[in-house]
Subunit: 390 residues, 2 copies
């Protein structure tokens, strides 16, 4: 272990959850919501601190009911009681799951009737980037047991809360990003000609774990002669050779928070085109960095990055040039022409310009930042302007 | 790397996808479905082979339309075109995503009208363990653009296909399980008194990667003096000491397929109670193993395992004593009193008896098997009946 950066505290203080809840309830009052029902992992965790890999099992739904006043109520499978009891949540209602005949639906409906009354408005996330993590059949049953409670979308409410990170959240993302930065620095030592992309990936995962991350949840990329094409496929058995460009793009996790950035490498001397493309995307990131201040919009960042690359307002195949970051690998907002979100202090963002410098040859660059009232804070160590040579 | 087991082929032959599609279309005809729309990762992958970690980003929905005849149609974000074009899918329709104003809804609706006509029945997974991976708002928009197409649940149809694994699928699960078995064997060498649970977890992840898995996607467990309590929480900083029982339960992935089993260890000589509890759960697994043949029901396996532990038909806090396994960490069916699923050749299952042998002290044991016409095949190396001492 070569962890040189001091490890932040795991979990959060109760005051953090109290602050999240209090902000949520102010917004709920504005929208006249009597309750919110949350079904997805980041939202349940946001209000409780409930952290477990058990969500990978699709069998059991988990519900968090946020009332208009008072603490959140967990309506969860019995298997989660002990883990939930370690959080600040006090009201934990469980059912014996799995139970496909009644997978928590009655318990959830009763809780909502108690909290929202017969006619109170219930908030559910319905908008962009959200989904409902419970069977549709059960959702329809839930609605029919609450016939007089209007359902309203609370996606924007939740987004507006989650998009601003607390210093404790930022500490976790920074720790993950710093560990990944150290792992990227070591790539020229652990990667060499003749290794397959897959071997490179596995060596990089070991290195990230050595540098102190909890998990290398996300690792994509690959290599290609003079440049790479696809950036979301699994690694191939293709062997690295001189003249290749290699990209590694990782979402490493520490205490439930992601970093998300990439680094490019040239195997031997890069072609002039690849070297130039790297400088261009670096400069594009630099232009965005200088503009990343409260008041700037995501659409402006998008335009600025494109302009620095000599491109118009085409979003390319990726569709955006960066995004929010936190409990999820990608979060609201998007650096795209459609997104008029105004940057605020405490937003954690990726800056991710990319373009095709020749047919089938892309160059993508990414950094992680926090928007601050003065200069933005870099969470990832700034890449070199010149592509690193292996 | 000490991978001693020969690596299967990655991906699948086209014949495998043809067989899956053909079986699906026979069942669709019986249910009079004109098309199915699938939105979740395992289902999109089942019909296409589309494998990417990119699903971790919640931003973009992905759709697979399975028509009543002819090949599946991918309706996906442009960023996925290159990766999808490497599969056997030919009809790939993309939109520039993210585009929250119209996140593929129009393109999907048009595709469905073309495939299902104005009144054809459209299958969507709505039942147990499923969810819809697209915003609810967009689902409602989709329904209103298809006003005369009845929607029917196709959850059971998909389940009945996915529950029987092909030999190529089993090869992948076996490979993951064999690698994890070797990693578990090495635990006494890599774990020692004084290490924290977290350090044990990280050492075990390195070992699993060394043994050839692609990712250690799931790792839960922990330690406790004389026994452990909670089995879904993240690892603590608690240091291992003599008299502890340690459990590691891992879902390792190889080529997109999971193994899922655990092993128990005693730090120093176990207490009589812990040693006995381990024998009891081992015997319970053995009883289930002997019964795991075509014709047996999951409910019978459940009863048998409980009986072998001297317990009644209480499912305990976990709610079941094992489950299906494949592209997901847990899949249909469940070894539980409610599940009358009849075992068939080719089902991959976990056998996972567990019980509380003293207040707050659990013992859980798990093996992975394939149901065969004769004896079941063990995918994990069978554990010792005596708890392993570190």
């Amino acid at each position: 272990m070569t962890t040189s950066f001091s490890e932040p505290e795991r979990g959060f203080r109760v005051a953090e959850f109290e602050a999240r809840l209090s902000k949520a309830q102010v917004l709920m009052a504005k929208q006249n919501l009597a309750a919110m029902v949350l079904t997805t992992e980041p939202e349940v965790r946001y209000f409780s601190g409930f952290l477990t890999q058990f969500w990978q099992s699709p069998t059991r739904p988990w519900f968090m009911v946020v009332p208009s006043s008072g603490k959140p109520i967990a309506v969860i499978p019995e298997i989660g009681r002990a883990c939930m009891a370690n959080t600040w949540i006090e009201d934990i209602r469980t059912w014996d799951a799995p139970n496909p005949q009644n997978e928590g639906v009655t318990l959830l409906a009763e809780t909502l009737k108690e909290v929202a009354g017969k006619q109170g408005i219930i908030g559910i996330m319905k908008g962009a980037e959200s989904h409902l993590r419970m069977p549709l059949d059960d959702y329809e049953k839930l609605l029919s047991s609450l016939p007089h409670n209007p359902i309203e979308d609370c996606n924007e409410l939740i987004r507006s809360l989650r998009v601003i990170k607390s210093e404790a959240e930022i500490d976790k993302i920074r720790y993950a990003a710093q560990a990944a930065s150290r792992a990227f620095l070591r790539v020229p030592e652990i990667v060499s000609t003749g290794m397959s992309d897959r071997e490179v990936f596995q060596a990089f995962k070991h290195e990230c774990l050595n540098q102190g991350v909890d998990d290398v949840s996300y690792l994509v990329g690959g290599s290609g002669q003079g440049g790479y094409g696809d950036i979301i496929s699994p690694p191939s058995t293709r062997k690295l050779q001189s003249g290749d460009v290699l990209i590694l793009d990782t979402g490493c996790i520490w205490d439930g928070y992601f970093c998300d950035f990439d680094r490019n490498y040239s195997i031997g001397t890069p072609s002039k085109e690849a070297a130039k493309a790297h400088r261009i995307i670096w400069d594009s990131t630099q232009a965005a960095l200088e503009l990343s201040k409260p008041g700037t919009t995501c659409a402006e960042l998008f335009k600025t990055m494109n302009k620095a690359m000599g491109l118009g307002d085409d979003a390319g195949s990726v569709g955006r040039l960066g995004h929010g970051l936190g409990m999820q690998l990608t979060e609201h907002p998007s650096h795209a022409a459609f997104d008029q979100t105004v940057l605020q202090e405490g937003m954690v963002l990726t800056l991710e310009p990319g373009y095709e410098f020749a047919p089938g040859k892309m160059m993508v660059h990414e950094e992680n930042i926090v928007v601050r009232n003065a200069e933005p804070e870099l969470l990832s160590d700034r890449a070199n302007r010149e592509i690193v040579i292996i």
